[in-house]
Symmetry: C2
Subunit: 459 residues, 2 copies
């Protein structure tokens, strides 16, 4: 059994468990009350706030505990936008932010505001100059993650913060993936994080708003957490969150070296062990424990099941695993292959032998899935003049790409293949396949049903 | 040591602690994931939802877990209002709702909607007919607590639900104070509750939306909890909440009889043991464990300190204990004395001998506070024609009432006393004192500074 999905949720750190259990006895009462149990709860809450603030690098009164990282993002963005409503209603986000940021942006747009999505390169990295270009006179807020949750790419937060600061625009940093590894440097204005990402308990997020940043909490508020997180404070969980943040920080430098070596192994060896694999995400600027790759002609969900049977828990940004049937917006924004996508995110303390065993079973798992998919129902292949038409309508990723690969040899170099597909993932995966196979992706055209993706055989 | 503030937060029930600890190992992963740890988390979450739904008396798919009772109220009211926006933007609440309901009402008003507050009688009880009178063609939602958090009065939820149903208006019931005792009967449409009120952990609320009720969640949402509670689910706490709800329900009938007998003792004996006390709240229709009284000529905060020194943790709705310096909106709406207010709310298992010891120390504690306040700085007393004027400007509750009581004997029967005060509590406490003392409260008049409260000596 090896759990390799720390980027979703890390198992509870032993220090978090200890602190939680200890504070269940001391921290259950209302910290706003004057009696003994209330005062004890208040002392615990204050101490946790100081510890968390020290780890973040902020003042205790700048930090509020929320009920989750998602809630911290929602509250932080809404409050910062409202605080600068007179300036305007324009928001800048990167195209690879966490869904909580993008959902907040959708709410702004629905209410008549405007949003600029800053593109990323093929490694998932934003360009600080692109943030500069996106800034407008009516920009109320910019958002950037410290590191990407799906591919591990670390963003140039310091440089983007400088660009924003020069324009007088606050920057909100979603530090959910990185805060356990260290503080976020640079002149950010707001910061959010999530305790269960660093081994703290569920139910605790952080929202930091620097002094001087205009902020107007939205919706009903009460007197708790400086009016930024209404509802009874979950003090045992808050204490556990703060204690475990200190604990993981104490181990972070050493563990980062160790995990980076393990993910380097995966990055280097997976492409040698498995044919037709693309390792995605920036190879250098990345989180120590995250490595992500996509396997051509593989159904991500089927691969996850194969790996689960072998005792490995990983996640996938493939459309096949998601209930919404659209592929990961992160992979799409990077323009990389989304099919057969696997994210390995090693928790603190991940064992080297588990990583080695993962590398040992992966090739067989991929082959097994490819074998099952290798003989799909024969498609309707029609030659229209010099164009070969593949009808993949009604078939799910990765079938359209498999069918394309099967017929590309049937047209001469320079000839065209038209793949008809109504699977949203094809829009991403067919161009990505062309990139990997050095074929020319011509573009897409509307079709009677679905979309026609046109590929020219180049080699 | 006796903790008598269960209406704020109950100590963790042993079953909640057990369930929490057990599910820390099984419930930390993302229940949306397909691998083993995720599936285990999903099983726990589903089982908790079924258990909680059974206790509420609803379908599992009608129940969402939120991060607090306050959050459940905020989300429930906002979603129900938005779901019926085409009908109108009028909201009905009782005057004694929890602040989370009133804060939601304020947000509606700030956004251009309108709110009707239904008055309560001197016992804190609403009249179902008053809800009927408040209903309008544009009423989107009505809210009513199942029982009041400050005085324990149980509201006629079933009758109010019928009145609302007849008009096609959904009723949201805030069941925070009562759900541990039993399900809320009647045809309500939405229901909210808070786990730490019944001995569950902090960090879990319930939001139930009956099938067929129009509901449109506001703000950013995600795929979790039917789109009604964004952010990673806190499964260990949810499991503990559901398990402890079942556990307290199993003990509820027996424990209700026991606690009701104990609070009956307090209700009966406090007025005999302590002079000038008003026991508030409905004497019959009330929660088993809550009893509230106010002591004339007493500073609530000072009394809480005295009782804390004696080992009793209770709370107070007196203005003196609140940071905002306005007296409890509940006591104000009831028109009862707010000064020297004490709420005793017994937790499950409260010991009889602790209640007896409380009754033994209370008279001394009240006397001690009264003694300290008994010799206030002499007020400026001026006789203007037939009116005695008491200048209590700059003095806090309960001084204005103490000064009134000192001079009432100095005017003849039929004569007037004018109390000048700039303490907001005087507006409530001077009429309440008149009621208790059978004096005639004439009314208030603007004054150069503060307000003049005019009292006619009647006896």
């Amino acid at each position: 059994m090896a759990y390799f999905d720390a980027a979703s949720a890390a198992p509870l750190h032993p220090v978090a468990r200890q602190a939680l259990q200890a504070s269940l006895d001391e921290g259950w009462a209302d910290p706003a009350r004057l009696y003994r149990e209330g005062r004890r709860a208040r002392v615990l809450l204050d101490a946790a706030r100081e510890a968390a603030a020290e780890a973040v690098g902020c003042r205790p009164d700048e930090l509020a505990f929320t009920s989750s990282g998602t809630r911290a993002v929602h509250t932080g963005i809404a409050g910062a936008l409202a605080g600068r409503r007179r300036i305007g209603r324009h928001l800048i986000v990167s195209a690879v932010e966490h869904s909580s940021v993008l959902h907040s942006a959708e709410v702004l747009e629905a209410a008549g505001g405007s949003v600029t999505q800053v593109a990323v390169d093929r490694g998932g990295l934003v360009d600080p100059a692109a943030y500069g270009d996106a800034l407008r006179a009516d920009t109320a807020l910019a958002c950037l993650q410290s590191a990407n949750h799906e591919v591990g790419t670390e963003q140039p937060v310091g440089a983007v913060a400088e660009v924003c600061r020069a324009a007088g625009v606050p920057l909100l940093v979603d530090a959910a993936q990185s805060l356990g590894w260290g503080p976020v440097d640079g002149g950010w204005s707001l910061l959010t994080a999530s305790a269960h990402k660093w081994g703290g308990p569920s139910g605790v997020g952080l929202l930091v708003v620097r002094k001087g940043v205009r902020f107007a909490a939205q919706g009903p508020v009460d007197e708790r957490e400086s009016g930024r997180a209404p509802g009874f404070e979950n003090i045992p969980a808050i204490v556990a969150a703060a204690a475990s943040l200190r604990a993981v920080r104490a181990e972070a430098a050493e563990e980062a070296v160790r995990l980076r070596e393990l993910t380097d192994r995966i990055r280097a060896r997976v492409p040698r062990l498995v044919p037709d694999v693309e390792v995605v995400g920036d190879p250098v600027r990345r989180l120590p424990g995250v490595v992500t790759f996509s396997c051509l002609y593989v159904d991500g969900e089927a691969l996850l099941h194969e790996l689960d049977r072998e005792g490995f828990s990983v996640s996938s940004g493939s459309s096949c695993t998601s209930s919404t049937l659209t592929p990961s917006h992160v992979l799409r924004a990077m323009g990389v292959l989304s099919e057969g996508n696997v994210r390995v995110s090693l928790p603190f303390g991940a064992a080297e032998e588990d990583v080695e065993r993962f590398l040992a079973v992966l090739p067989g798992a991929v082959s097994a899935v490819r074998e099952k998919l290798g003989a799909p129902v024969a498609s309707e292949v029609v030659r229209e003049e010099d164009i070969l038409v593949v009808d993949s309508l009604g078939k799910r990723c990765p079938i359209p790409v498999i069918e394309l690969a099967k017929v590309i040899g049937d047209v001469p170099v320079g000839g065209l293949v038209r793949v008809l597909s109504d699977d949203e993932a094809a829009r991403l995966d067919i161009p990505a396949w062309c990139e990997m196979r050095n074929q020319e992706y011509v573009g897409e055209e509307p079709a009677d049903r679905g979309t026609a993706y046109v590929v020219r055989r180049a080699t």
